[in-house]
Structure formats: structure tokens, C-alpha cells
């Protein structure tokens, strides 16, 4: 029995690992939580806010994580991360495991510990019900009108790779950012898209929401969803494997998959499918009935209309607070750093001025998203770990400081030279003159442009979602994708952004009027 062999080897691995290094398993058990990462934006059936109570999560991976956690004797704790950045979060040590539809690939197996598969997926080609030009896979290979078919995929997914390797000649691949976005793209024929190669479980979960779409041909490109762990956490991986295999044996995994309508015959055949690779050991689950038709107990129903506002509005409001917190903490920091930079540049010794110029040019000349990424993912490499919120604040502050420095420089240079001369000839030191005479005047001058930047910063906080901070925009995408209420929630989100920026505009106007009054009346 392979399962027994696995248990034995897991025990051996446990014993061996105990003798060497710390394993995440010890940390998890000490901490009492199993932290797993996924992206809610990916949506159903994987991980999505529950339609009944959007503060809670649902999805088959959520239930799988609970199952693994209870096997480990701890509680599961969800960590939000952008899908393609989840492996980075794992390397950073922020999470113990990635459970989010990650396919087994040799490259991933080389870099990470990969669990036994918890799901066997296939890819389903989707087309428009009324599109006579796309009825079979041969229509893809040889289009009737000679035009290349435009097929939407989730960028970087297995479907993407499948088309690139097998249909590079005959297909234009169109990258979408989210799975449901791709389906909507086909439905609306966005950008001339003809079809979508979709993960089958996503299609079965969402198909009621897309009545205009139909499956084209048989599923293709079988693959395996596996959990990722750090390579060194061998004991943790062994325990995760045991948990999954146990769940397969006692039928609890099947119950979970059936609940989300993604159980199918393929899952039952898995014992025959799986290769006994090192990190990828198959099971012998004879108890599963290969012919059982899945009975749906959980169906996807889009909550459309304005009802969605009352249900999800509170969550968006909460996310808006995160946006406010990011902006309100980052902006004063940016102004302070910017002021210091402008003083260095204008009044500092040559080398310091040069340093300020280099800083300003580098920061201004590179994208914010890159800076955030470097702060969040590369600093831990040199031993500096920083919480996502503070990484966001720091990134925004650094990015905006370069712009504030230039604004302040203009403000300082606009003060007539006579002001400094008058202050110096009253016996003031240069620094005192700057502090008492020049800066107060320059500050009045820079209020309008700085306020303008403050408003821009409110909107730039959205970029922080790449480093897992869930702020207003990210929260919007999560709920817009899981409910389909793109318009309704979009309006609410826009109103929330306006509610943040408009008072600032008013304040800027007020300060500006007061300032001109001071100068002229």
C-alpha cells in the first residue's frame, strides 16, 4: 500500500528533519495557526468572499486549508496576496503554504516543495453559444475565414502555456488579469476575443453566470493543483500530504469538491494518473465511485443590482480606511524627506547635493510598483523584514519625496535673494535664516502643488495591492469579480475616492486664499 509507505517515509522524514533544522511545522504548532496564502481576487470556486457574509471566505481551498490545519492541530489563517506574487510571500516567510490553484510544473517542483495534488484540473475551451465559427478544436487550428482565432487566457496560467506550446501558429493569445474577466471578455467580444481557455473548475463554478458561453470540445491539458511549501520544510509538506490523502480516503475532499460542483470522474481516476515523483506521491483511493455524477449543493449566483451595495458597501468602506491610513501616514513623511532633499540640493555641500540629485532622479525615473516590490520582496533577502502596511507607506513616501523635493526646490528658489541677505545681515546663521525666514514663506508657496500631489497619492495607494495590502481598489476588484456587480460597486468605489480627495481640494483652496490675502491685503 502506497499510503502506508508514505506514512513511513513521512515519519522518517520527520525524524531526519528533527535532527537538522527548524521546520515550519514547529513554528506553526508553536504559533497555533497555519498561515496559507491565496488571492481572493481569483474568486470562485477557489477563494472568494462568501455571498451571504462577505466578511467571511468560502471556496474549496478555504475548506481544504481548514482541513489541513485541523490535521496539524491548529487554526487556519488566510493571508491575502496577489496571485502571481504568492510564491514570493512564501519565500519571504510571510506564509507557510500556497493553496491557490497552482499547477504542478517541473520548474515549481525544483524551486518549492510541492504537495500531492488536491485537484486534477483540465482546461476547457469556451466560446459564444451563437458563434458558428468556433464549435470544435479544429476550428481553432484551421479557421473557416482564415482569420487567427483570438483566445483569452489568464496571463501566466497553464492555459496560457498550453496555447503557446500547441497553437502558437494558429492562435492570438490575449492575456487577461482575472479568470472571470476572460469569460466576460468572450461574452462581450472585447477586443475581438473569440474564445477562452479556462480552468474547468472555474467554468463549472461560474457557468450559470455566463449563459451566453458554451463549452467547445472536450477538456484538454490535464494538470495538478498542488500546495507549495518552502523546500526546506519537509516535515510540514509530509503532514500536508497526509492530510490530503486522508481527506481523499475518508471522502471529505470529495464532499468539499462536490459542494463547489467541481467533483468529476477525473478526480476519481487520480490513482492511475499520478506519477510517484519525489514530491508528488499518488494515492490508492479505491473507495471512490468513478461514475458518480456530482450533485451541486452550492451554486454560483451573481448578486446584481443595488442590493450588492448594502451587502458589500461596509467592506469597501473599511478598505477605504486602509487607503486613508496609507496616504495620511505616507504624505507627511514624503514632504519631510522631500524638504530635506531640497535643502541638501540647494544649500548642502557639493557631494550631498549630488547625492540628492541622484536620489531624486532614480526615484522619479522608476515606477512606484517596482519600488514597492523591491522594498517588500528584496529587503527580506538582506535580513530586513517589514510589514506590508509599512512597506507600502515607505514605498509611497520614498516615491513621492522625489516629487515633493522638486516642488520645495521651486518654492525655495522663488523666495527673493534679498530675504536671505536681510536675515544674514541681522546676524542670523544660514540655518536660522532658512528655518525662520525662508522656509515659512516657501511652505506657503508649495501648499497648492503639495495638496495636488496628496490627492494623487490617494489614488496611487492602489498600487500597494501588489505587496498584498488590501486597500479600496483591491477590495473593489475582489467583490466586483466575485459578484459581477462591476458597475454598482464601481460607482460606490468612485464615490469613496471622491469623498477622500474633494475635501482636500477644498482645504487647498482655502489655504491658498488665506495666503494671497496675507500677501496683498
Amino acid at each position: 500500500m502506497r499510503l502506508k509507505w508514505l506514512v513511513v517515509s513521512a515519519i522518517c522524514a520527520t525524524f531526519a528533519a528533527n535532527c537538522f533544522a527548524d521546520d515550519a511545522l514547529d513554528v506553526i504548532q508553536k504559533r497555533g495557526t497555519f498561515i496559507w496564502g491565496a488571492d481572493q481576487e481569483g474568486g470562485g470556486p477557489f477563494v472568494l468572499p462568501s455571498p451571504d457574509d462577505p466578511t467571511k471566505l468560502m471556496g474549496f481551498e478555504v475548506e481544504l486549508a481548514d482541513l489541513i490545519a485541523s490535521h496539524l492541530g491548529v487554526k487556519a489563517q488566510f493571508a491575502q496576496g496577489q496571485w502571481d506574487k504568492l510564491p514570493d510571500l512564501l519565500s519571504r516567510g510571510d506564509i507557510d503554504c500556497v493553496l491557490n490553484g497552482y499547477e504542478w510544473t517541473p520548474a515549481r517542483a525544483a524551486m518549492f516543495g510541492t504537495s500531492v495534488p488536491y485537484y486534477i484540473y483540465e482546461l476547457q475551451l469556451l466560446g459564444r453559444r451563437d458563434d458558428e465559427g468556433l464549435r470544435t478544436w479544429s476550428d481553432v487550428k484551421q479557421s473557416a475565414d482564415g482569420r487567427k482565432k483570438r483566445i483569452a487566457v489568464l496571463g501566466g496560467s497553464a492555459a496560457h502555456e498550453y496555447l503557446e506550446t500547441k497553437f502558437a501558429e494558429s492562435v492570438d493569445v490575449v492575456n487577461f488579469d482575472g479568470a472571470t474577466d476572460a469569460m466576460r471578455g468572450v461574452e462581450l467580444s472585447v477586443d475581438g476575443v473569440d474564445g477562452n481557455l479556462q480552468d474547468l473548475p472555474v467554468w463549472t463554478f461560474f457557468q450559470d453566470g455566463f449563459p451566453a458561453l458554451a463549452a467547445v470540445g472536450e477538456p484538454v491539458g490535464r494538470g495538478y493543483y498542488v500546495g507549495l511549501t518552502r523546500k526546506s520544510d519537509q516535515r510540514l509538506r509530509a503532514e500536508i500530504n497526509l492530510a490530503i490523502l486522508k481527506a481523499l480516503q475518508d471522502g471529505s475532499l470529495r464532499r468539499i469538491l462536490e459542494k463547489y460542483r467541481i467533483w468529476n470522474a477525473t478526480q476519481a481516476q487520480r490513482a492511475l494518473e499520478i506519477d510517484p515523483l519525489e514530491n508528488f506521491v499518488g494515492d490508492e483511493t479505491k473507495s471512490i465511485d468513478a461514475n458518480s455524477a456530482a450533485e451541486a449543493t452550492e451554486t454560483y449566483e451573481a448578486v446584481r443590482g443595488w442590493k450588492v451595495i448594502s451587502q458589500r458597501g461596509g467592506l469597501l468602506l473599511k478598505a477605504a480606511l486602509m487607503t486613508v491610513a496609507l496616504a495620511v501616514v505616507a504624505m507627511p513623511l514624503a514632504v519631510l524627506i522631500g524638504l530635506a532633499l531640497s535643502l541638501m540640493r540647494l544649500y548642502g555641500p557639493h557631494w550631498l547635493a549630488w547625492l540628492a540629485v541622484v536620489y531624486i532622479e532614480v526615484v522619479r525615473g522608476t515606477p512606484l510598483v517596482l519600488q514597492l516590490y523591491v522594498i517588500f520582496f528584496l529587503l527580506p533577502e538582506i535580513g530586513v523584514s517589514i510589514h506590508a502596511f509599512w512597506a507600502g507607506v515607505l514605498g509611497l513616501a520614498i516615491n513621492y519625496s522625489a516629487y515633493e523635493a522638486e516642488i520645495y526646490r521651486a518654492g525655495l528658489q522663488a523666495i527673493p535673494r534679498g530675504q536671505m541677505e536681510a536675515a544674514l545681515s541681522l546676524g542670523m546663521s544660514r540655518w536660522l535664516a532658512l528655518r525662520r525666514i525662508i522656509l515659512p514663506q516657501a511652505t506657503r508657496l508649495v501648499i497648492p502643488p503639495v495638496t495636488n500631489d496628496f490627492i494623487a497619492l490617494f489614488k496611487d495607494t492602489a498600487v500597494c495591492s501588489v505587496i498584498t495590502v488590501v486597500e479600496l481598489s483591491k477590495e473593489y476588484y475582489i467583490h466586483a469579480r466575485s459578484t459581477g456587480a462591476i458597475f454598482e460597486l464601481g460607482i460606490l468605489t468612485a464615490i469613496l475616492y471622491l469623498a477622500m480627495s474633494y475635501p482636500l481640494s477644498l482645504l487647498a483652496g482655502l489655504l491658498e486664499r488665506r495666503m494671497t490675502k496675507e500677501r496683498t491685503s
Binding site: A422, A423, G427
Partner: protein, 245 residues
């Protein structure tokens, strides 16, 4: 009180001060006259270090100030600037402060005077220049003449050993010029040491003790105003007086 020894300064190829020697006694009112470009403003500004010079040295109230190459310049300037005030053509009042705040700024932050004492002094000085009723006005609310009188009060608040005036009435119309000249005459009468760069011949004639004529970066002629105005000897003086007469 103030001595200039062989001051030389060039802007690139052009030598703007060509070996100036000058000596001002305590209580002396000294006027520098000369056509524009003769270097008189530059000369005045070397005394409190707003302009550097290349050669020579200046002694102010016992403190020696060296040329630009002298590493002790900054230290000397810190002392000299507390002892020598300056009044500018464009007044250079601090626009974000009231008249009173302009006057008390340096006493509080440079001399560390107690606030109450600084306010009392500032009020008296503004009263002395005839602006007792304008103490809370901002510079933008005052006329040019009023602003220049606040600037004089601001300088006086530091109790300077000498005051440098850099064309203090050039930006003013005749009526406002008269206001400012009258304040300056009062100052002179009280024994204040003053060096004045001006085109106001009336002031030079009636208030100055000594008049120096600058011509092409050199002092062409010096003497009491009576001698300079009534029997000039240097061609540059004669030409200058002919232009302004």
C-alpha cells in the same frame, strides 16, 4: 571703527574694486557717491560679507575680515553681522511677519532677548520711526516709505555699531524719500555711525561728515561735503555733479 585695507575684487576679467582704502570713525556719517557701475554698492556689501573680495582685509570694530580665501571668514562674519546692520534698496522686510514681528525677530532669535523685552523695544523703535500705529500691519499693507522705516527700526533693534544703507531711497517717490531721509538725519544726529550709498545729494550735502567719490573701482576724491560740492578737483567728481545738478 571700520577700516578697509586695499580691497580688490574681480568678476571674471573685470576688476570692479581696485585697491580701496577707507576709514570710518565712530559716529561718522560717510556717503559714497559715484555713477552706476562704479562699484559703490559692491564695496558697501563687502563690509558685512554679502560680497566677497579677493585681496585686502577689513577691520570692523576690532574684528578682522579676510578675503574669500581666508578660512576664518565665516567666524569673523558671525561677529561682524551682529555689530553692523544693513538697510536695502528693496527694504527686504519679511512678508509673512507683521511690522512688530519683523523688528523683534532678530533680537529674540539672535540675541536671545526675553520676548517681553523684545516687544517693548520693538514698539519703541517703531514709534521712533513714526509707525507706532502700524505695528500689526504686514509689509504688503504698508507704503514703500513706511516699509523702509520698518526696515530701519529692524536694524536698530540689534543696537548696531554701524549701519550700512544701500540706496535706501532709490525705490521711493520724493515724498516718501523725505520721510526716510528725515529718519536717517535723526539717526545721524544721535551719533549713529553710518555708511550710505545714495543718489540723494541733499542728504550728502547736509548730513554727511565725509563724502567719497567712487570712479572705476577706485576712490577718486574724498572730503567734507562742502569741499566736494563746492570745489571738486577730480574730473569724475565734476562730471558726476554736473549730471545730478
Amino acid at each position: 571703527m571700520i577700516e578697509l585695507h586695499n580691497i580688490r575684487k574681480s568678476f571674471g576679467e573685470i576688476e570692479i574694486l581696485r585697491g580701496i582704502r577707507l576709514s570710518i570713525r565712530k559716529g561718522e556719517v560717510c556717503v559714497l557717491l559715484g555713477p552706476s557701475g562704479s562699484g559703490k554698492s559692491t564695496l558697501l556689501r563687502t563690509i558685512n560679507g554679502l560680497e566677497t573680495f579677493d585681496e585686502g582685509h577689513i577691520i570692523v570694530d576690532g574684528t578682522s575680515l579676510g578675503p574669500i580665501s581666508d578660512p576664518t571668514r565665516e567666524i569673523a562674519l558671525a561677529t561682524i553681522r551682529r555689530r553692523v546692520g544693513m538697510v536695502f534698496q528693496q527694504y527686504n522686510l519679511f512678508p509673512h511677519q507683521s511690522a512688530l514681528e519683523n523688528v523683534m525677530e532678530a533680537p529674540i532669535h539672535v540675541l536671545k532677548q526675553p520676548r517681553a523685552e523684545a516687544i517693548e523695544n520693538a514698539k519703541q523703535l517703531l514709534d521712533r520711526v513714526g509707525l507706532g500705529d502700524k505695528i500689526h500691519s504686514r509689509p504688503a499693507q504698508l507704503s514703500g516709505g513706511q516699509q523702509q522705516r520698518v526696515a530701519i527700526a529692524r536694524t536698530l533693534a540689534m543696537n548696531p555699531a554701524a549701519i550700512l544703507f544701500d540706496e535706501p531711497t532709490s525705490a521711493l517717490d520724493p515724498r516718501m524719500t523725505a520721510e526716510v531721509i528725515s529718519v536717517m538725519a535723526d539717526l545721524a544726529a544721535s551719533g549713529q555711525t553710518m555708511i550710505v550709498v545714495t543718489h540723494a545729494m541733499g542728504f550728502a550735502r547736509s548730513v554727511a561728515h565725509t563724502v567719497h567719490i567712487l570712479h572705476q573701482g577706485q576712490i577718486a576724491e574724498s572730503g567734507p561735503p562742502k569741499q566736494i560740492f563746492e570745489s571738486p578737483t577730480h574730473p569724475a567728481t565734476i562730471e558726476l555733479l554736473a549730471q545730478t545738478a
